[in-house]
Amino acid sequence: MTDEGQRPPGRAAALTAAVAWVGERAIAGVEAFLGVVSLGGSVARWMVRPPFRLENLFAQFDFVGVGSVLIVALTGLFTGMVFATQSWSAFERFGAESLVGPTVAITITRELAPVLSALMITMRAGSATCTELGTMRVTEQVDALETMAVSPVQYLLVPRVLAGLLMGPLLAMLFDTAGIFGGFAVAVLIKGLSVGTFLLRTQDIVGPDDVTEGLVKSAVFGLVVMLIACYRGYYASGGAKGVGQATTNAMVTSAVSVFILDYLLGLLFH
């Protein structure tokens, strides 16, 4: 490495650059992880301290939860329909069409509902949250709150993070309902499976554990994606460009975190 400067940029230089790039990414990743965890800690501390601003909280429930109803229901419906169509054509080969109901129901409640509804929350509420907080940061509105002796963590972040935690499972349940209905529509209404078979087989095989797994996952995902959006926005800097970057970052980190956590939580349940 000593005569690095004299050599024309070749394979070694490219390799060094690649290693440096990976190193930088890794350090940034660890930093962000610790940052999110510590922000989560301070959100938790401010959450239990009065005053409790219910109005802000309900505004966020409305924004994160009610506002996502349509998109989650649609995603759920079509996911269920697509899944039923595909599994029908597979099961048909060995005459196991009656298993379409439980297959769709299990996959949706355990996996697809939590993951896809978390991604919808990220896209809709997470991006808006990150941009809004970032803009407030770079225009000194966050500082202004602080000078007025109001904790921005308590005033701005607590309701948003709580909304993620509580609306995540509710939206996942909606996704479950819409998805299973989508599966029902394809199997029964289109393919002609009998209503009784669909319902009985589904009831037989799908248990409360499947639903619990889905709800726990979606609570964790909702919490994490909103926390990441808050973290990126709250610490944004560098004007409009910085806010844009923060939002891009928040979207990518949230989506990747959901998939990683989905795997880890899956290990916990099985």
Binding site: T139, E140, Q141, D143
Partner: protein, 250 residues
């Protein structure tokens, strides 16, 4: 009481951003019930100094006392207690853009008092009138001009009648008549309520009008600190240059 504790006292304050040394040993005292104006070139660190006083920034070194209490080591919760003594006007107004003017100005009252709505309304409209604003209460900040936003920021800072008001360029961008209004407001607050004010300004004329003391920030230090009349006699080259740009024209 032989010796009064200054309302604000800054001791040997250092702050740098990366390599960039902004404050290099600032000392400043502001006595209770007086108005101190900070003059200094653009980028000299006036805003940074003010943000240290209210705890928005932590120094690399040095102390900031508010009524004798060192605020540098305080955590968020303790700072909240200290900040209740303050009102601050931001250079860029920093209004909450999701709220109307009325909601902005009433915000500190709602957060820190249990006043009836009618009383809140009265106080808010009162303060808006003081800064010369009428019929804008239901507008959003985005619908206002820069000068109007600044005045809403002023109203918001004084709505709770705080003990100490920090003004970061309260009159920059205002027309001469409104500037006069704001100057009068700072004077009245001092005379009637005993408010302590720290004002960052570029406007030498209004500084000389409102200030009991003028502090001149240059090269990261307070290079001159004197009542206005004496400051004109300062021999410090930067101070002389700065003042001559204004007095020279008259």
């Amino acid at each position: 009481m032989a010796e009064r504790i200054p309302m604000i006292s800054v001791r040997d304050l250092y702050k740098s951003f990366g390599e960039h040394q902004v404050l290099t040993g600032v000392d400043l005292d502001v006595e209770e019930g007086t108005t101190c104006v900070i003059l200094g070139g653009s980028g000299s660190g006036k805003t940074v100094l003010m943000k240290h006083i209210i705890g928005l920034l932590k120094p690399d070194r040095g102390q900031v006392f508010v009524e004798g209490e060192d605020v540098v080591p305080l955590d968020d919760l303790e700072l909240e207690r200290v900040r209740r003594k303050f009102g601050m006007v931001f250079q860029g107004a920093a209004l909450f853009d999701s709220m109307t003017v009325y909601e902005n100005v009433s915000f500190p009252l709602r957060e820190h008092s249990k006043l009836a709505e009618s009383e809140i309304r009265k106080r808010v409209l009162d303060k808006l009138a003081i800064v010369g604003l009428h019929d804008v209460a239901e507008k959003y900040p985005a619908e206002l001009s820069g000068g109007m936003r600044k005045r809403v920021g002023l109203a918001r800072a004084i709505v709770r009648d705080p003990k100490i008001v920090l003004y970061d360029e309260p009159t920059t961008g205002l027309d001469p008549i409104t500037t006069d209004y704001v100057d009068e407001m700072i004077l009245t607050a001092k005379e009637k309520l005993g408010v302590t004010s720290l004002v960052i300004s570029h406007d030498v004329a209004s500084s000389f009008k409102v200030a009991d003391q003028i502090a001149f920030l240059s090269d990261g230090k307070i290079v001159a600190h004197a009542p206005p009349a004496q400051l004109r006699a300062s021999t410090h080259p930067v101070v002389k240059l700065f003042l001559s740009t204004w007095f020279g024209k008259n």
